[in-house]
Every structure is written in structure tokens, then in C-alpha cells.
Symmetry: C2
Subunit: 222 residues, 2 copies
């Protein structure tokens, strides 16, 4: 069976909080990272800016490893909602960039469009081979924690980081403030649209669509 | 080998010229037809409007036949530049809706983005199976004639029509006025950006990418 690598990109304004993400040389630069990652992956070099994304200390993006490992794997980029739009072919789902989760991540209608279109896309992709789902969204480990907590899991401090020094206290404080707006229990779309981001939502929807159509999904991480 | 149906949609303002296209109940309605076609194809019913596209005389869109024939074929929608954007997952290439070819079809930069991204997309799709290329663009037989004439072919009156009564005189007059702006010989991108449309350009670019990567293309028509 063939593999198809689907890389879902997007942004959340959580990555603009100083110290929370090292997926870019500065908080503002993190919003360029998803676009540069997939441009590098598909076109062989970043296009929007002529620079490979790196941490403040100069460690390059894991997209280098992805490109090396998947040179013969067909790839599809899905833009779930990226503030900087990749300059390569990309599937759009009607999503928008994610806001700061302390004030709300996504308009409900945008979240519902992403779910509906993600499922439709997954159904179509299921016939093409095993769907390997990757992603790029700086700040994504913080939104992951917030989504899990909103859904009732004891996930406090339990999501990882691109940094060897995981800023758990800062992330936990942001998540605490974000989920304080919610009245549990909440469903998954509410969790994602209130305290999540477009990428987590799109990944879940695509996976649902693939599986519903009898296909196979491999979660490949970031 | 699997098949993958790629349906490229877009619009040209040529379809707004009264009498030139029957791919919609009125000239203005033709701009909805590509979106409704692919919504029906992927989601099982039109979404943007709750109506199956039809000719002024009520004959429904050939998308009905496409859906019946391809129920088990994975499908991908490419939006090369549609004035009414389909409410289903769609690949975007950085294109824009096509203008009236008597005054110019596409900005050169948009045309070049479509070519570059179409080739990139084709390269990725080539590994997934045989790429069956379909399209939906009302007015497309007129722009096809204009592109062929611009490239030096004697194509006057030689493109077909969705109508049993092909309005060849009207189409020929529009093409004559359009190509009068050109100084031959012109290359393919100039032909498409001056007197063509985003869909023809995207189809050519995707086909080039598939073939360049060693894949197989089947042109499936409209």
C-alpha cells in the first residue's frame, strides 16, 4: 500500500507569547515557520523568505528530517488556517488562523467548516493509500494541552515541547486562563474552537474521514 | 494502478457574454456552475446554492454523469481561479478568476504562480496513480479556441460546445477581437494569460508535472 504524507499547517497567536515557542528565531517569526516548512518540503527551499526556519539558538526545523525521510513519498499540504500562506499548492478547508486561546481560538462557523471539509478530504484521500498525518504549528503543544484539559483529561504540564527546556509553567498558566472561560463538559469542536487551533481540528477531521471510509491513518507528529 | 480524478475549476468573464455559454440558466449564473459542480461531485449535493446547475432549457450539468461514473474514484478539486469558491476542500494554486479575453485574461504574475504550483502539484500526484484530469469552466471552449489561435493553430470555429447549437460566429468574433491585441508568435503562458483562462493553464501545468515525474495523465474533458 502506498503512503501519502499530508502535512497540515496553521498558526495560533499563542506562539506570539514570548518564551512559549522556539519554533522560530523570535515570537513573531514563528508565524512564518509553517509556510517555510512546507515550502522547503515541497519545493526544496523556502520561498516566502529565503531562510530555513530555526530556533533562537539556530537549530533548524525538523522539516529537514521530514524531507530527507520522505523524498519518494507523495505529499499534500493542507492549510487549516495559516497567517502566512505557503507559496506552494495547498488544500484549503475554509479555516482561519487561530487566535490567542486566552480570548478564543476560532469562530464557531470556521471551526465547523474545517471539520466538514476535513472529513470530506479524508474520505477522498482514504482511497489513495495510508494517510500519514504530519503538522506544523508553533504553539501547538500549548493548544494541545488546553484541548485535552477542556475535554476533561488531566493533561496539566503533560505535553512536550520543541525545546529541550519545556516551559511548562508558562504553558500551564496560559492554559489555566484559557480554560477558565469554559463551562465543562464541552465537546471536541467547542474545545478546539475555544482553546485549540485550526490544525488540531483539521487533523482530527481528516483522520475521521479516512477511517470512516475504511482507510488507514498514521499520526506522524510535527 | 489506481486512478485519481483531479477536477480543475475556475471562471472566465467570457461566460458573461450573452449567448456564448449555456453552462448555467443565465450568463451570470455560469459563474456558479464550477462551484456547484464540484460540490455536487464531492458532497453529493450543491452547497453554495441548493440547485443542480442546468442549461437555460433545464438540461442538468454533466457532473451528474461524472458522479455516477466515479463513485469509487478518489477525487481532488483544484481551484485555479473561481469567482465563486467551492465550499468543499480545494487545492489553490495562487490563481485568480479569468477576465474577459478581449481585454486580458490573467495578470502575468498570477499565471506564473499557477504554472509553478500546478507543476509542483502534478509532481506530487504522479506517485498516487494515474491522474485523470477533468475540468469545469463555462466559456472554456471559447478560451480554448483563443489559446489555440494565439499559438498559431488554425482553430477558427473548431472547438466544440456544451450546446447542440454551437454559437461559432459569436465565439469566433470574440476570439478575433481578443487575439488582435497579440503580436505573434507568443509562448503558451502568454497565450493563456492574455486570451486564455486559469483552468487551461492549471491543467497544462499539472499534466506537465505528472509527466515530468514519470506518471500518467488521462485528459477527461469537462
Amino acid at each position: 500500500m502506498n503512503d501519502l504524507l499530508v502535512v497540515v499547517v496553521g498558526t495560533t497567536d499563542v506562539s506570539l507569547i514570548p518564551g512559549i515557542s522556539i519554533a522560530g528565531p523570535s515570537p513573531e517569526a514563528t508565524h512564518y515557520t509553517p509556510a517555510l516548512d512546507v515550502e522547503y518540503l515541497l519545493a526544496g527551499r523556502p520561498i516566502t523568505l529565503d531562510v530555513v526556519p530555526a530556533t533562537p539558538e539556530g537549530i533548524p526545523t525538523p522539516a529537514l528530517v521530514t524531507r530527507a525521510l520522505t523524498s519518494d513519498v507523495p505529499k499534500l499540504v493542507v492549510d487549516a488556517g495559516a497567517r502566512v500562506q505557503p507559496q506552494v499548492p495547498r488544500v484549503v478547508l475554509g479555516g482561519v488562523p487561530g487566535g490567542d486561546i486566552r480570548r478564543g481560538a476560532l469562530p464557531r462557523e470556521a471551526a465547523e467548516r474545517v471539520v466538514k471539509n476535513g472529513v470530506l478530504l479524508g474520505r477522498q484521500l482514504s482511497g489513495l493509500g495510508r494517510v500519514v498525518l504530519g503538522e506544523s504549528i508553533p504553539g501547538g503543544t500549548t493548544t494541545a494541552m488546553a484541548i485535552l484539559v477542556a475535554l476533561g483529561y488531566d493533561a496539566w504540564g503533560r505535553t512536550s515541547s520543541a525545546a529541550s527546556n519545556n516551559p511548562k509553567e508558562l504553558k500551564t498558566a496560559v492554559v489555566k486562563e484559557a480554560v477558565s472561560r469554559l463551562k465543562p463538559p464541552v465537546d471536541a469542536v467547542t474545545a478546539a474552537s475555544e482553546v485549540g487551533d485550526p490544525v488540531h481540528l483539521a487533523l482530527a477531521a481528516i483522520a475521521l474521514g479516512v477511517v470512516a471510509a475504511g482507510g488507514e491513518v498514521l499520526l506522524a507528529g510535527g
